[in-house]
């Protein structure tokens, strides 16, 4: 009992420490290395005096630092989204894009790239995230609407899963069609966006993603116990006092907000939402009360690490981060699945 408690207690601080370390690496290294004294001097200049920053200091304040923070928020959103949906669907193969959110976002973004110049719809640099967010909301809304069974049976969660798969396929073919008819540079933009990148990070995106990420994660912690009860079945959870219908809608809404907002700013990043809950279940068991909290931190760690790799490999060019998350994530994931003592 006590050793168990110690272990539970220990994981969270260790993860936090790792997150800080990896973030410092992320801030310091890239096309240009930044020294600690430069970090300190730029912080001091920004916070305490209004002296002008030099080039390295500007890279730190305007590029590296917002990017490092955005990595944490996006990683946390995707990982917690994955944890929540896996718990809700009682299915370990689920990832946060399953209910249509990321494919809809990709379609919205593709529309922007392919047709943006032709249409009048333009709100400057906000056009792309807005288009992606609207796409995400439409596709997810469609999944919700179409999965409402007429006899409101108890298998509605399976209906949701299948509808999600169908709508995802539909929107992906839409993305495919748009990249097929698009001219070369636009088609490249679509592909690039679909693989995700954090190169657009700035303080505004940090503020928006940060707000949505932190608030939704804090709210989701309130439902950890109900999600635990759901592990033994929908009926059983009801006997334990859980209102399944309202829980389902709340969790889906939380997931849509956290994933749509993050995806709108950084593109589609796969695998983080799938792998993080699995890693943590092995480390720490399936109790959602720990899982949600730890997912947020581990998601931040993995995405920060992937971002660092994506900036280092082809220096000074950048690799799309989605390639890194998949190339690194898949072998780890397969290794986990082949472990004999892991029942997912």
């Amino acid at each position: 009992m006590s050793s168990q408690k110690k272990q539970r207690f220990g994981t969270f601080p260790i993860l936090l420490l790792l997150l800080v370390i990896i973030s410092i690496f992320g801030i310091r290294y890239g096309a240009v290395s930044i020294r600690f004294d430069e970090i300190l001097s730029s912080l001091q200049k920004t916070l305490l005096s209004s002296e002008n920053l030099n080039l390295t200091e500007r890279i730190f304040m305007q590029i590296r630092l917002p990017r490092a923070i955005l990595c944490i928020f996006v990683g946390a959103s995707l990982a917690v989204g994955g944890t929540l949906l896996q718990a809700l669907f009682r299915n370990p193969i689920v990832e946060p894009g399953l209910i249509g959110t990321s494919c809809g976002a990709a379609f919205g973004a593709a529309l922007y790239f392919a047709l943006g110049a032709t249409f009048d719809f333009n709100v400057g640099k906000w056009t792309l995230p807005l288009a992606a967010c609207i796409g995400a909301l439409i596709s997810t809304g469609l999944v919700f609407f179409l999965s409402q069974s007429r006899n409101s049976g108890k298998s509605s969660i399976v209906a949701l899963l299948l509808t999600g798969i169908a709508i995802n396929a539909l929107f992906l073919s839409g993305v495919g069609f748009l990249s097929y008819i698009a001219r070369d540079p636009q088609a490249r933009s679509i592909v690039f966006w679909n693989l995700g990148t954090l190169s657009g990070a700035n303080w505004t995106s940090v503020a928006i993603v940060g707000f949505s990420s932190v608030s939704t994660i804090l709210i989701s912690l309130r439902y950890a116990k109900s999600l635990n009860a759901l592990m033994i079945g929908e009926e059983e959870a009801q006997f334990l006092g859980v209102n399944i219908k309202s829980l389902k809608w709340k969790i889906l809404l939380i997931n849509v907000i956290m994933v749509a907002v993050a995806t709108a700013f950084v593109g589609v990043i796969s695998f983080v939402g799938l792998i993080v809950p699995h890693l943590l279940r092995i480390l720490n068991g399936s109790d959602n009360r720990n899982l949600i909290r730890n997912s947020a931190i581990l998601g931040g760690i993995l995405l920060s690490a992937a971002d660092l790799i994506s900036r280092m490999v082809l220096r000074p060019a950048e690799l799309p981060i989605g390639i890194v998350t998949s190339v690194v994530g898949v072998p780890i994931f397969i290794f986990l699945l082949r472990r004999k003592n892991y029942f997912f």
């Binding site: 635990n228 592990m231 033994i232 006997f239 334990l240 006092g241 279940r281 068991g285 399936s286 109790d287």
Partner: protein, 258 residues
């Protein structure tokens, strides 16, 4: 006391339950019997508000089940359903702790932990507390769920009944643990204001342990009452299409089929 009045439940044209009225009193082991497809599980689901009957209503004491708040009800009523599957690996004690979920907000208190530990001891699963539930055998898993549902209603409530509803609890159990479980139910009944309702298949276990029996056949109530009233030759012939030899002596009542 759980009362179900004139329950009729249909799926499409098929009548699953036809005008069934039953009542289950506190302080007794109430068992529902019947052949396959007689409507036992449906009746249990109607009583638990999982199925909405087209006609009739269910009362817990004076209160109609329809108006009952799930969260409030979960504090006094525990249900063991069939085929409980766990989606993710959890330790046995974490599964048992779920029984206390209706009673605490975020973290379990001392009272909740005590209830779990005592319920695990009660059903002989204490030694497995730290094991992964998914590595247990079917019978062991079943006993873990006994501990879970009983921990849910472990403490007596003032001026209110508690309810324990068990849909085929004896599945997967060997004969030792079948008897163990029935004895444990009798032990629980020493507490006041506890209503126990269960579905079983084994007529001899029913004859040995039940205080009140309900026999269903083709969706209708064939008989209800004590074992001598319900387990008669005629009823057995109608329900199971087999003629029993009924043996009644000082040690109890036994049914043989051939």
């Amino acid at each position: 006391m759980i009362k179900a009045n004139n329950i009729t439940y249909k799926i499409g044209d098929k009548t699953i339950l036809n005008d069934v009225s039953v009542s289950f009193a506190a302080g007794k082991i109430n068992l529902i019997l019947g052949p396959n497809g007689a409507g036992k599980s449906s009746l249990v689901k109607v009583i638990c508000n999982q199925l909405k009957p087209q006609e009739g209503s269910v009362y817990y004491e004076q209160k109609n089940i329809i108006g009952n708040d799930v969260a409030q009800l979960a504090k006094v009523r525990a249900v063991l359903s069939q085929n409980t599957e766990l989606a993710f690996p959890l330790k046995v004690k974490e599964v048992v702790m779920m029984g206390r979920y209706p009673h605490f907000q975020v973290t379990p208190g001392e009272k909740d932990k005590n209830a779990c530990n005592e319920a695990m001891r009660f059903f002989d699963v204490e030694a497995m507390a730290d094991r992964d539930y998914l590595t247990l055998s079917g019978g062991e898993q079943q006993r873990v769920h006994f501990a879970r549902v009983v921990s849910q209603i472990w403490y007596p409530t003032e001026n209110a009944c508690r309810y324990l509803i068990l849909d085929e609890p004896l599945t997967f159990l060997d004969v030792h643990y079948q008897f163990h479980f029935m004895h444990k139910l009798q032990e629980l009944l020493k507490q006041e204001n506890l209503v126990i309702v269960g579905v079983v298949h084994d007529l001899n276990l029913a004859a040995k342990f039940a205080d009140h029996l309900v026999l269903l056949h083709e969706g209708k109530l064939l008989a209800s009452g004590t074992k001598t009233e319900v387990l008669t030759k005629e009823h057995m012939k109608t329900a199971y299409r087999l003629e029993p030899v009924i043996h009644n002596d000082a040690r109890g009542m036994y049914l043989f089929f051939e």
